[in-house]
């Protein structure tokens, strides 16, 4: 897929919590690049003292009617903090789209997300639903206030929730959620590595096809610097930014 370096305007910067914002972006030139669920962008941070490289952010949602690309940003440092503070109307320069994206399977997919890792699952659920598939979301977080965009998710599938403090949904980790015992054809997962590993183990036990989205530290995002490598079964070290970020768990040496 062709990659672009493109200026986007922040149409709306919606602060979800103190820590999370959704940025609704529209391309200045009106031309929204084709993207796939699970792909990401590299954001240029122009107004931060200590941010040198771009910041990889996964695509949260694409609203083709409004010509909007959404980014779900977690305040995780000076770079993301300055994105969250960007006022409506300001310009963000993106490299888009990057990476491979999730498989679009036919059948019932359980989409499991933890923390800010829920971001790409919204766009994925939308596409799966539009293809006539049954979609279930299992979203986990520390507590209620970290469960984000639930209204949006509920439009595209059944919602199952887990919080570590039990403030919403089932108490505990996503892997302990009762929905994990039910039947589905695929698992597609994005979140903290320990969570994804735990999910991968369950998928292997139950022999369910499973994809995970990795977040290895990267510089370029286009497969040039070879910094974000993951060791794979068939190809050794490959770039998460190019051959990933989505991998079938059978490919990983977890």
């Amino acid at each position: 897929m062709k990659k672009y370096i493109k200026d986007f305007e922040i149409k709306e910067n919606i602060s979800l919590t103190a820590q999370y914002s959704v940025l609704k972006l529209s391309p200045i030139d009106g031309q929204m690049p084709k993207t796939l669920p699970g792909q990401f962008v590299q954001v240029y941070v122009g107004n931060s003292r200590n941010t040198y490289l771009r910041r990889p952010i996964s695509i949260n949602y694409i609203d083709y009617d409004k010509n909007e690309l959404w980014l779900l940003i977690r305040d995780a440092g000076e770079g993301t903090n300055s994105m969250i503070k960007s006022p409506n109307g300001s310009i963000l320069n993106l490299i888009v789209p990057l990476g491979n994206g999730f498989s679009i399977n036919n059948g019932h997919s359980l989409l499991i997300g933890g923390g800010v890792g829920v971001a790409p699952l919204l766009y994925l659920g939308k596409v799966l639903k539009e293809r006539g598939n049954e979609v279930s979301f299992l979203l986990g977080a520390r507590s209620k206030c970290d469960l984000l965009l639930l209204d949006m998710f509920s439009q595209y599938g059944n919602l199952f929730l887990s919080t570590e403090d039990g403030s919403m949904g089932e108490k505990g980790l996503v892997t302990q959620n009762s929905v994990m015992q039910t039947d589905f054809d695929f698992i597609q997962c994005c979140g903290p590595k320990p969570m994804m590993m735990a999910v991968a183990n369950i998928a292997k036990e139950r022999n369910i096809e499973c994809e995970v989205s990795l977040e290895n530290m990267m510089a370029c995002g286009i497969g040039a610097c070879l910094c974000c490598v993951e060791d794979t079964a068939s190809s050794g070290n490959v770039c998460v930014c190019k051959e990933g970020p989505v991998f079938n768990i059978n490919e990983l040496k977890w």
Partner: protein, 303 residues
């Protein structure tokens, strides 16, 4: 129309802007963003005799105005380059230069011998300064005798243009450059990355799997410019300047210090189209200053 043409050894560059090895893949990674044929040249990533998996993850960390990397020469080996990569890129109308690394002299020689017959590869850049593999050549690059041993051996078997990439991790880089020139190199490129490290104070672990890595980016530009100036004053072969070039101004700065051509490295990660903007800036700069031939800028610093 201004003349941007420069010559390195026996190769002509349509302009002095090249890309640095290890930051530009095989060129293809950037084809969506720029017309590769507009580049003066591009240096494909470090190539070794045999396949190398490189270092374990994590391989990079951001630092103030720069980054540390410890890729460790991950590549599929010279035969894979010749059979699989070369046919895909050989028709790009630009100078394609292969960066060659090895852990002993015979490796360097063998790789160069294999590359010599390739019609569209008319220059190699010999990496005697990779800080990220135990025998990645930095040992060769930090002593005159070490550098001489590699360059002389390659010179015997390789008749095309040989550029030698120098390590900045030395007391007197001009001495190394002179030794390399005397050993038959056609050009020197500098600087490679600076050996550095960073520690995650919360986990108390180094950020890189290899503890130390190579520092690149705007942060080290003042040191690289100084070294280019010192080397350009010490040798008569053309000097290729690199180290933290982020824009056209920086490229001019290196040329005023004595560089005949420049390489853009880390900046490609931040703006994949920066090389083209740099070429345009240089043209505008020459027009603004009434300079018709780029050669007037080379070493043009005024005291």
């Amino acid at each position: 129309m201004v003349n941007l043409n420069v010559k390195i050894g026996n190769i002509e560059l349509k302009n002095p802007v090249m890309t640095a090895s290890g930051t530009f893949g095989y060129g293809e990674e950037y084809a969506d963003f720029i017309d590769l044929s507009q580049l003066g040249g591009f240096i494909v990533k470090g190539t070794t005799l045999h396949h190398r998996e490189g270092n374990p993850y994590p391989r990079m960390v951001e630092t103030p105005s720069g980054m540390l990397n410890a890729v460790g020469l991950q590549n599929h080996g010279v035969d894979y380059f010749i059979n699989t990569i070369y046919p895909r890129i050989k028709d790009i109308d630009s100078q394609i230069i292969v960066n060659v690394s090895g852990s002993n002299v015979s490796d360097y020689v063998e790789v160069c011998e294999k590359l010599a017959p390739l019609e569209k590869i008319n220059a190699v850049e010999i990496n005697i300064s990779c800080p990220n593999v135990k025998q990645g050549g930095m040992a060769f690059g930090t002593t005159c005798s070490g550098a001489e041993s590699v360059v002389k051996a390659i010179r015997k078997c390789y008749n095309k243009t040989m550029i030698v990439k120098l390590s900045p991790n030395v007391t007197d880089i001009a001495e190394i450059a002179k030794a390399v020139e005397a050993s038959g190199a056609d050009s020197v490129s500098l600087t490679n990355t600076f050996l550095g490290m960073a520690i995650n104070t919360e986990t108390r672990k180094p950020y890189l799997s290899t503890i130390t890595g190579g520092l690149s980016g705007a942060c080290i530009r003042p040191i690289a410019v100084r070294m280019v100036w010192q080397v350009a004053n010490a040798v008569s072969i053309p000097v290729i300047g690199l180290g933290g070039i982020m824009n056209g101004r920086d490229a001019i700065e290196f040329m005023l210090a004595g560089a005949t051509a420049i390489q853009v490295g880390t900046a490609n990660f931040i703006d994949p189209a920066i090389t083209i903007k740099i070429i345009e800036y240089i043209q505008d700069y020459m027009v603004r200053h009434g300079i018709e031939d780029i050669k007037e800028i080379i070493g043009g610093m005024q005291l």
